[in-house]
Structure formats: structure tokens, C-alpha cells
């Protein structure tokens, strides 16, 4: 090779220097980073090469006038909308060199997150799009500069002004949190001011949708400005960045407004980050500013004044100092529970009321000390117990923010996630745990056990339980919960809101696991009605909790009870909810309520009215959220269902396709509702005789799964199976064989060996081979089955779904393999009976019957294997 050419040999993708043998190390290392992401598609199709915009210029229908700021990912321009003739701020991804698929996705997530937020103190987003491969969005231009400019020019803010200002910001942050959005980069430069000096939160450059599982920012853990970083951000623990991290940043800003200083300073970013993670802020709980002792002065004498500089003579009001210190707790779990709580506290301060937060007291000091000398004396369990005492509130906040998006937390998968929130909090509290394998399920169990053994203040215990109840989804949990509720109930006042809140939570959980048609179901609904009545009598008429209860009852009536009487009651409840949410202009809940209302009305026989409501709601959702939000998919999905029931096949198919398209582009193909919509659409197509259309649908979905989840994802594998079965049914075994074979090969290539999740695929492929009379091929494949079955772990459903496959195997003359499956299912079910007793009982019965039947029909001839 020509050595001169070598020297100029640059990677066409990242422009990095290529190795002598032509490898690009950067690109290869990035493969490693990518391999951890949920979506592992190609990242090389990144768009055009680097391009800068030379000002002034026209771009996407705007005239860009000047650059206002440049952030981590984009440049913000002042731009004139050529159509509307208004001046806006436009953020454009700065450098296409960095616009990898990952960053583009992040940008989209960012715009999606902001577009969802509709709050007077959050800078509104006008439009987002992509021009020449460069994503952009426009937002309102803030004329008053930023808080950073304001602080630079005018220095310290008076106490009350700072409190008022911060209260507003904190409320806006709380609003964002409730909508599942973290800011992650709060700093004065991101607090813009309008002409009147009113603050507006901007630059969700790092906002991560809590709910969309955007893991994309994980490879950028060190984002943010060091001075406002929380300890978890400074330590690079991207996974542990939660709402508490934003609360930390609010604390830093409050400190800065009141003192014109920063609580953690240092000569370099690294020094600042080290102090953030290790040292206490430079303020005492009485409000005295302290100057950090440098090592030389460490032996300071007691009588000597600690603070020397003039600036340090000022004091912050003790209450404000307490709030700052509470925001600046190293452990996220010990911070003020939410931004909203900080706002409430500041309002109390402004109204001359006592604040509820306590100064950092002896207990905390003791805690901090034990943290430093942890080790043998503190085990996981002890830490978990302490955690529960102090952190339930913050966990609950996290839970609530999620709940705003996904109405019910029923699925095991989801509660696992929440359990891992607790776990992550534990990790944050004690690095002792980091990297240790802790099963969230176990942890949750342990937490519950601890709580039930708690012998302190009953109110405290009740509130812990109340927070935890959101995680309870098993019958055993509920039993425990009921016991404790009974224990504390006599000690609480009958009108204690906590008691009613607990009752609400319990009954909600009970409702999810009980049969609506039975006596128990009726009792549960009566209890909900009692709670509703109490809430109406004791809570403020506009308290959203009332409407949550109403909605919960209505949803149960519509979805489970049905029947005329139930639907009439539901319609009334839903209309009342609708009026409430319309008054609050809460678009999300308006849509959620309208969806159920549509079904209620439909059930009452007013079909045309229901369909019209559905159509209107689709338009409404499109207008408010567009197709980038899963809620729009939900409306289309429900409308599709009712169209199908009215024999409006065409409209049904159209709506279902839209729903699917939206789900696929927002929450992904493995989202529960996406799965249901797909199933329904597939069924509709089959029923209408459009088998080719159905096949095309399954193919498209598989493509989406392949791209979004990756070819080896459990759900993708499930969809391959489904496609194979369909192809066989349609008498296209050759195609099935080809797809199945290729897929098995891909899975082997990527995973090294066939993973246990591919057991179903393996069986499907064998079935195809058997159908084609190639039993030798099937034998070779099926030989691997016993090993895969033994390796299988995970959710029960991954076992139970093999039941029909066992039947198919038996039918195809493979009783031995069928029996192996049943035996494995029986063994697993017997081991895990208490997880989902109802399901287990059902499955066990079926598997045993089948096994027995098979034994009778094909008596076992000495089998080896499992």
C-alpha cells in the first residue's frame, strides 16, 4: 500500500484516522456502545456531511437572522417566519457530523417532549421538522434574555423576589415532571425571561421522556453544566438521573439567586464535580455562608470566625437555607420529594407560614456518618429499610409521573420497572450495591416485609404503604396490605385523607384482580362509590383525585361490567370527568375520558353518536398531540374497534392502520396496545377475506420489529413465529421454511448460540419441515429443544405460550417433544404457583390433561432428556 495514502486515510463515517489495516477504531467502539441500545439498527445512514449555515440565509421557510446561543446539540437562531412574519427562535442540530441516528432520535424525542408541554411558564414550541437532513424546531423567542444574564448584571436577588421567582420555575418543572419529562440541564441560562421579566423554562435539550424508554442519552452521561449537576450526574450515573436531579439544580439556582455564588466551586470542571459528589454545600442550615476550608486551614480554632470575606457575612433566611440544603442532599432520595413540593414550601415562606421541611438534623448526620463507615454493619436489607423510611415520597412521585402517561400499572413488567426505580434509588444511596445482582422482585418483597414489620407511628407506616401500594399487583401483596391497613385503620381519624387514599389504592388493585361479575366485583365498586362520595364531601370540588376515582369506576363499568345500567352510570361519571378536564384544558385526560365515553355510548346502542365522538376525538388528538404521541394511536385503535363492530370494515381497517403506525413510531411494536391493535386488524383482514393483506401486515410488522427491537428480541421472535404459522396455513411452506431458516441463522450469528427465547421459532421451523415431509431436518432441529427448554427462565407467559405449540407437535406426530414441553411447563408452574395463582392453575390443569391424554394415546417408550 502507498504509505502516503495511508496518512490521509480517514474514516468516511467519522472522519477519524483509520488504522493501518483499514479499521476505524472509533466506529468499532461505537458498535459496542450501540449494542446496548434497545434499537440496534445501522447507524451509518446518517445524513449529509457537515454543513454550517451562513447567516443570513433562508432555511425551511424561515430567514435566519443571527445566532443566539449554541447548546450541546444545536444552535439557536433568531429567525423570521416568512409566512407568518413573526420572529421566533429556531434550534437546528448543529453539526450533521454528529447527527447519527441516535442523535436524530434524541432530537425527535426532545421536540416531542416539549410539544407535549403546554404551560405558561414553559417556552412553547411552534413547529418541528427536518430540512436537508437537519432537524429543527421553532419556539417562542424570549426577548428578556436569561436568568444568567440577569444575575450577571444585577447580582443578588432579594429573598422574596427570589422565592417568588423560584416558586414559578419549580411549578413549571413539576408540570413537566408530571408529563413524564425531565429537564436534566436546568441552569440560569435555560431560564429565559420575557419582556416583563417573567421566567420561562426552555431548552429541553436533554429532556428524556420517562415513558418512551429513550435510552439514547445513556452514552452521554456527562451532559450538563458542571455547577448545576447533581451528584448522580457528576458521577456519570446516567441511569440514576431522575426528577430528584432537577430538584438539585433548582436548589443550586436558589442558592445562586440569593448569594450570587455557587454552592460548589472549583478550579476545574473535574474539581467542581468532585466537590458535588463529596463535599457539603457552602451554607449552613442557619443560613450562614461558609467558606470551604482549604487543607491548610483545616485546624481552625473554634473561637475564630469562620467566615472572612465580606460576601460571606450575608446570611440567607434560615427557611430558605433549609430548603436549599434539602435540595442539595447527596442522596436523591433524601431531597425534597418534588419540584412542586419546593414550590409549595416557597409559597408557605412567602405567606409567612412555617415550612414543612426540617433542617438537616442529627438523624441525618448519623446517617451520613454510617454512610461513610458502611460495610459490614450495613447490609442490603438495612439500607432498604432506611430507604423506605425516607424515600417513599420520591418514589411515589416517579410513579405518579409515569401514571400520568400509562393509566394503570397492572402489568408485571411495569411494576418491575418501578421496583427498579426503588433499586436505583438504593444504588444511589449506597455504592456498595452498585453492580451487584439484585432482583427487583426480591427487593420489593423485602421492602414490603420491612414495611409490614415497621413498629412506629401508624400514620407514617400507612403513608409508606400507601406509596408502595402502587407496586402491589399480586394477591399475596394485597393480603399483606389489607392486614396492615386493618392494623392502622383504627388509629387514624375516620376523615383522615390518608386513610381514604389508601382505601382507594387498595380497591383499585383489588379491582384489577377480581372478577367484575362476581359479588366481590360488586363490593369493590360499592367501595369506590363510597370513596367517591367521601372525596366529594371532603376535598375541594376541583380536586383531580375525585375525577380519578370517577374515571376508575367508569372504566371498570365500561370495560368489565358492561350492561345497560352500568353504562348509563358510566356515561354520567365520564361526562362529569370530561367537564372537569375541559375546564382545566387538560388535553390528555380529555382524550382518555372521551375514549371510554365513546365505548359507553356505543354499548348503549347510540352507535352513530359514538362513532362521531370517536372521529372527533381522533381529530382532536391529531390537533393537540399529532401522530408523534401514542394517545392519538389509542383513539384510532378504539375507533377501529367500534367500526369493526358496526361492520364499517373499510374505516376500521383504515383506523387500525393509523393506530398501528402511530404506535410503531412512538411506543414501539411491543407495546401492549400495539399488540392488541395488530391482532384485531389481522383478524379483520382475515375475516374480510384479505389474506394477502394480512400476510403483508405481518411482514411489515416483522420489519418494524426487526428494525426497532432488533432481530433477536423476544417479541420479534414471536412475530417471526406468527408469520411462519400464517405462511404454513396459507400453504406457502417454502417461504416459511426460507424465512424460518434465515432467521434462525441470524439469531445464531448475533447471539453466538441459539437463545432459549428462540425455542418457539425452532418448533415452528420444525413444524414446517414436518409439513413438507422432511422429518430428518425436523429431527435435527428438535434435538436442540430440550436444552433450550431447560435454559428458559423469565415470565410465566414465555412458558405458557408454548402450550399450543406442544399441541401442534403432537398433531404432527412428535409426542416426545410435546411431552417435554408439557413437563417443563408443569415443573415451572409448580415452582411458581404463588406468582399468578389463577393463571398457573389454569395452565397446570391444561398441561396435565394434555400430558395424560398423550400418555394414553402414545404410551412413553423410555424417554431420555427432560
Amino acid at each position: 500500500m502507498n504509505p502516503a495514502a495511508n496518512e490521509t486515510n480517514c474514516c468516511p463515517v467519522c472522519s477519524g484516522r483509520l488504522e493501518r489495516d483499514g479499521l476505524c477504531l472509533v466506529c468499532l467502539l461505537r458498535e459496542g456502545m450501540e449494542a446496548d441500545h434497545v434499537t440496534g439498527q445501522e447507524n451509518k445512514n446518517s445524513g449529509p456531511p457537515t454543513r454550517f449555515l451562513n447567516l443570513p440565509c433562508e432555511f425551511a421557510g424561515y430567514r435566519l437572522v443571527r445566532e443566539i446561543a449554541s447548546g450541546g446539540m444545536g444552535i439557536v437562531y433568531e429567525a423570521e417566519d416568512l409566512n407568518l412574519k413573526r420572529v421566533v427562535a429556531m434550534k437546528v442540530v448543529r453539526n450533521a457530523q454528529f447527527a447519527t441516528r441516535e442523535e436524530a432520535a434524541r432530537f425527535r424525542a426532545e421536540t416531542q417532549a416539549i410539544a407535549q408541554l403546554d404551560h405558561p411558564d414553559i417556552v412553547p414550541i411552534y413547529e418541528s421538522g427536518e430540512e436537508d437532513g437537519m432537524p429543527y424546531f421553532t419556539m417562542r423567542l424570549a426577548e428578556g434574555g436569561s436568568l444568567a444574564d440577569r444575575l450577571k448584571k444585577r447580582g443578588i436577588m432579594p429573598d422574596r423576589k427570589a422565592a417568588t421567582f423560584m416558586s414559578r420555575i419549580a411549578r413549571a418543572v413539576q408540570y413537566a415532571h408530571e408529563h413524564g419529562v425531565l429537564h436534566r440541564d436546568l441552569k440560569p441560562a435555560n431560564i429565559l425571561l420575557d419582556v416583563s421579566g417573567k421566567p420561562m423554562l426552555s431548552d429541553f435539550g436533554l429532556a428524556k421522556l420517562l415513558d418512551a424508554e429513550f435510552q439514547l442519552t445513556r452514552s452521554h452521561a456527562y451532559v450538563g453544566t458542571p455547577h448545576y449537576m447533581s451528584p448522580e450526574q457528576a458521577a456519570g450515573k446516567a441511569k440514576e438521573v431522575t426528577m430528584a436531579s432537577d430538584v438539585w439544580a433548582l436548589g443550586v439556582m436558589l442558592f445562586q439567586m440569593l448569594t450570587d455564588k455557587l454552592p460548589f466551586t472549583g478550579g476545574s470542571a473535574v474539581e467542581v464535580m468532585r466537590r458535588i459528589t463529596q463535599e457539603e454545600p457552602e451554607i449552613s442550615s442557619s443560613g450562614k455562608l461558609t467558606v470551604r476550608k482549604e487543607p491548610k486551614q483545616a485546624k481552625e480554632e473554634k473561637g475564630r470566625p469562620e467566615n472572612v470575606s465580606a460576601a460571606s457575612l450575608q446570611r440567607v433566611q434560615p427557611d430558605l437555607a433549609t430548603l436549599i440544603l434539602r435540595c442539595l442532599e447527596k442522596q436523591p432520595a433524601r431531597r425534597l420529594p418534588s419540584a412542586g413540593f419546593l414550590a409549595d414550601e416557597l409559597d408557605r415562606f412567602l405567606n409567612g407560614e412555617p415550612i414543612q421541611s426540617r433542617a438537616v438534623g442529627s438523624r441525618e448526620r448519623l446517617w451520613k456518618m454510617t454512610q461513610r463507615h458502611k460495610g459490614a454493619s450495613l447490609g442490603i436489607v438495612g439500607i432498604a429499610a432506611s430507604l423506605i423510611m425516607g424515600t417513599v415520597v420520591s418514589v411515589s412521585e416517579a410513579v405518579k409521573a409515569r401514571a400520568a402517561e400509562r393509566v394503570a400499572v397492572q402489568q408485571k413488567q411495569e411494576s418491575d420497572k418501578i421496583a427498579s426505580i426503588i433499586l436505583e434509588t438504593v444504588h444511589g444511596m449506597d455504592e456498595y450495591l452498585v453492580g451487584r445482582e439484585v432482583n427487583p422482585e426480591q427487593m420489593l418483597r423485602e421492602l414490603l416485609r420491612r414495611v409490614s414489620g415497621f413498629q412506629g407511628d401508624p400514620r407514617r407506616k400507612a403513608s409508606m404503604l400507601e406509596e408502595l401500594s402502587t407496586l402491589l399487583n399480586k394477591e399475596a401483596d394485597l393480603k399483606l396490605y389489607r392486614e396492615v391497613l386493618e392494623e392502622v385503620e383504627p388509629q387514624l381519624d375516620v376523615n383522615d385523607p390518608l386513610l381514604w387514599s389508601m382505601r382507594y389504592r387498595v380497591v383499585l388493585k383489588e379491582m384489577h384482580i377480581s372478577n367484575a361479575a362476581g359479588t366481590k366485583g360488586r363490593e369493590i365498586r360499592d367501595e369506590l362509590r363510597r370513596i367517591m362520595i367521601w372525596q366529594q364531601e371532603h376535598l375541594a370540588p376541583e380536586d383531580t383525585q375525585i375525577y380519578k376515582t370517577k374515571y376508575a369506576l367508569a372504566e371498570e363499568l365500561v370495560q368489565e361490567v358492561k350492561g345497560n345500567e352500568a353504562l348509563i352510570e358510566a356515561e354520567k361519571l365520564l361526562r362529569s370527568c370530561l367537564a372537569h378536564y375541559e375546564k382545566k384544558a387538560d388535553h390528555f385526560d380529555i382524550i382518555v375520558v372521551r375514549i371510554e365515553l365513546m365505548t359507553a355510548i356505543f354499548g348503549l346502542g347510540r352507535k352513530e353518536e359514538a362513532l362521531n365522538l370517536g372521529r372527533e376525538t381522533c381529530d382532536y388528538a391529531m390537533e393537540k398531540y399529532g401522530e408523534r404521541h401514542s394517545i392519538t394511536g389509542r383513539v384510532y385503535g378504539r375507533l377501529a374497534k367500534h367500526c369493526r363492530e358496526t361492520e364499517l370494515v373499510k374505516e376500521s381497517i383504515h383506523c387500525a392502520r393509523r393506530a398501528l403506525d402511530i404506535y410503531w413510531h412512538t411506543v414501539g411494536p411491543d407495546y401492549m396496545k400495539a399488540k392488541l391493535s395488530l391482532k384485531a386488524l389481522s383478524q379483520t383482514l382475515v375475516n374480510s377475506g384479505d389474506l394477502t393483506g394480512n400476510l403483508e401486515l405481518l411482514r411489515t410488522e416483522l420489519k418494524v420489529c426487526d428494525q426497532q427491537l432488533g432481530p433477536t428480541h423476544a417479541y420479534t421472535l414471536l412475530r417471526v413465529e406468527s408469520l411462519l404459522a400464517t405462511l404454513r396455513q396459507m400453504d406457502l411452506p417454502e417461504e416459511a421454511l426460507e424465512i424460518g431458516g434465515a432467521w434462525l441463522e441470524r439469531v445464531r450469528l448475533i447471539e453466538g448460540l441459539l437463545p432459549s427465547a428462540a425455542a418457539g421459532l425452532l418448533i415452528q421451523q420444525s413444524l414446517t419441515l414436518l409439513k413438507m415431509g422432511r422429518s430428518a431436518g425436523a429431527d435435527t432441529l428438535l434435538q436442540q429443544l430440550p436444552a433450550l427448554l431447560t435454559q428458559m427462565t423469565g415470565e410465566l407467559s414465555s412458558f405458557t405460550r408454548l402450550l399450543p405449540l406442544a399441541d401442534d407437535l403432537l398433531e404432527s406426530g412428535r409426542p416426545k417433544e410435546a411431552r417435554a414441553i408439557w413437563r417443563r411447563i408443569i415443573a415451572v408452574c409448580e415452582q411458581r404457583q404463588d406468582e399468578e395463582p389463577k393463571l398457573v392453575a389454569q395452565v397446570l390443569l391444561k398441561a396435565k390433561q394434555q400430558l395424560q391424554q398423550a400418555e394414553n394415546d402414545h404410551p412413553t417408550v423410555k424417554e431420555s432428556g427432560c
Partner: protein, 257 residues
């Protein structure tokens, strides 16, 4: 006692691995070493890791100005020292990454070496490291003018990780059906720097569709990513560090470019 451990380690056998095996070491080698209770376990583990990652140290020494011979001697001498027990107390001090641990030990050792008279004899004739491999011209790492030794070390480190993962990938591919196609694909996918080689030509030669070749290339890259992560996992303390390590090296190499 140590002899018996060393003889039990066969590093030459990297090709004949069973498919799907996580490789030469347990996936969490470094954390296992840190948590090990017995001196010999620590020593064995350290040696196995160090043997896999001696080249970056060599590059470091070369970039500091040592000749090939001197650098080889330094690395060799260091390894004898490394495996002596006074290094052990350094292992369990909570160093998160093997990379920084190794470099810190090496620079300390070089420093002390400088101040020490050259009385030490090379012990027992046991050649611990395959340094003779270096003699082959093609294998010698490129020294980059003006690069700091630290950077050279990190660069060499990244290269060593990538090489290990690549070797494992190759080992796996060799055992697959259509291994010839896959090995060719590997060659083309990775050495073109991802520019998109002429798939069309390859597709027609192997009687496949253009899309199928592209897809296979994507799968290959994915597999490589998984193997690379597995490799990185052996030399860091916990899963979270894997991303940090990769990110660190990427940022470093991007800056160098």
C-alpha cells in the same frame, strides 16, 4: 505454586473456542480479581488479563522513546514485578478499571526502576509474554509522532480490545455455515470503515440478494458490538462501567483525529 497456575493457562487457544463461549475469561474477570480472597486467584487472574493487554504498555513505552528492545525489557520486567505479591495490595483498592490500574502500576514501576540500580536479573528464563511476536514487522504498532505516551497507551488499549473481540468474532464465524461468505463479509464490513462496500458485487457472487447481504452485515456488526462489550466487561468492575469505558475511548480517539 505459581508455576502450576501458569501452566494451567493456555492463551494460545483462542481460535478453538466453542461457539457462544464468552471467551478467554469469565465475563467479569476484573471484578472477580478484585473480589478474590486468595492471593493465587488474584495472581492467576491478573496474569491472564495482563497477558491479553500487554501491547498497550509496550506502545506506551515505545512512545516514551524506548527502543523495541528496551520497551520489551521494560514490559517483561514489569510483568515479573506485577506478579509478585507486593502488587496485590494495589488491586483491591477499588480501582474501577483494569486499564487505569495497569497503567498506574506500570508508570510507578518505571519510575522506581529509574531510581533503582539495574541489579535485577530476569528471573528464571520463563518467557511470560510473547514479545517475540513483535519482531514480525507487520505486527508492530504504528507509533504516531507527537502523540503522548498516555494517548498511545489508550489508543493501543482500544486497539487491543477491538482485536480481541474481532478475533472471537472470526473464531465464531469460522464455525458457521457459509463461513467463507461470513468471513469475507466481516473483512469488508469492518475494514472499509463502514463506507458501504460494493454489496451488489458480493451479493451476485454469493447468489444472494443485495438486501440479504446488507442485513447480514448489520447482524455482524451487532454481533461484534456484543462481543466487544463482553470484552470490555472483563476489564471493568461493573456493567455501568462498560459504557463509560467505551465512551472514554471514543472521545479520546475522536479528539486525536
Amino acid at each position: 505454586m505459581m508455576e502450576s497456575h501458569m501452566s494451567a493457562i493456555d492463551l494460545s487457544n483462542s481460535a478453538g473456542l466453542p461457539a457462544g463461549n464468552s471467551g478467554l475469561f469469565p465475563a467479569t474477570m476484573w471484578s472477580m480479581i478484585q473480589a478474590a480472597n486468595h492471593e493465587e486467584d488474584v495472581l492467576t487472574g491478573l496474569e491472564r488479563l495482563a497477558r491479553a493487554y500487554w501491547r498497550p504498555l509496550y506502545v506506551f513505552a515505545r512512545q516514551r522513546g524506548s527502543s523495541h528492545e528496551a520497551a520489551s525489557d521494560e514490559v517483561q520486567g514489569f510483568f515479573e514485578h506485577l506478579l509478585s505479591s507486593d502488587m496485590l495490595k494495589n488491586v483491591q483498592r477499588g480501582e474501577v478499571r483494569f486499564r487505569s490500574f495497569l497503567l498506574r502500576c506500570f508508570t510507578n514501576w518505571l519510575y522506581n526502576q529509574h531510581h533503582r540500580t539495574h541489579a535485577a536479573k530476569r528471573g528464571g528464563g520463563a518467557v511470560l509474554l510473547p514479545l517475540n511476536e513483535m519482531d514480525s514487522q507487520t505486527d508492530e504498532p504504528a507509533l504516531i509522532e507527537g502523540q503522548s505516551p498516555d494517548k498511545a497507551f489508550d489508543h493501543g488499549w482500544a486497539r487491543a480490545m477491538v482485536d480481541h473481540a474481532m478475533k472471537r468474532l472470526e473464531g465464531e464465524l469460522a464455525q458457521r455455515d457459509r463461513s467463507e461468505f461470513l468471513l469475507e463479509l466481516r473483512q469488508r464490513t469492518f475494514t472499509s470503515g463502514g463506507a458501504g462496500p460494493d454489496w451488489e458485487e458480493m451479493a451476485s457472487r454469493h447468489g444472494m440478494s443485495h438486501g440479504a447481504v446488507r442485513k447480514a452485515a448489520t447482524d455482524l456488526r451487532r454481533r461484534f458490538g456484543i462481543l466487544l462489550r463482553t470484552e470490555v466487561r472483563t476489564i471493568v468492575s461493573n456493567d455501568e462501567e462498560v459504557d463509560d469505558e467505551l465512551r472514554y475511548l471514543v472521545s479520546l480517539l475522536s479528539m486525536a483525529a
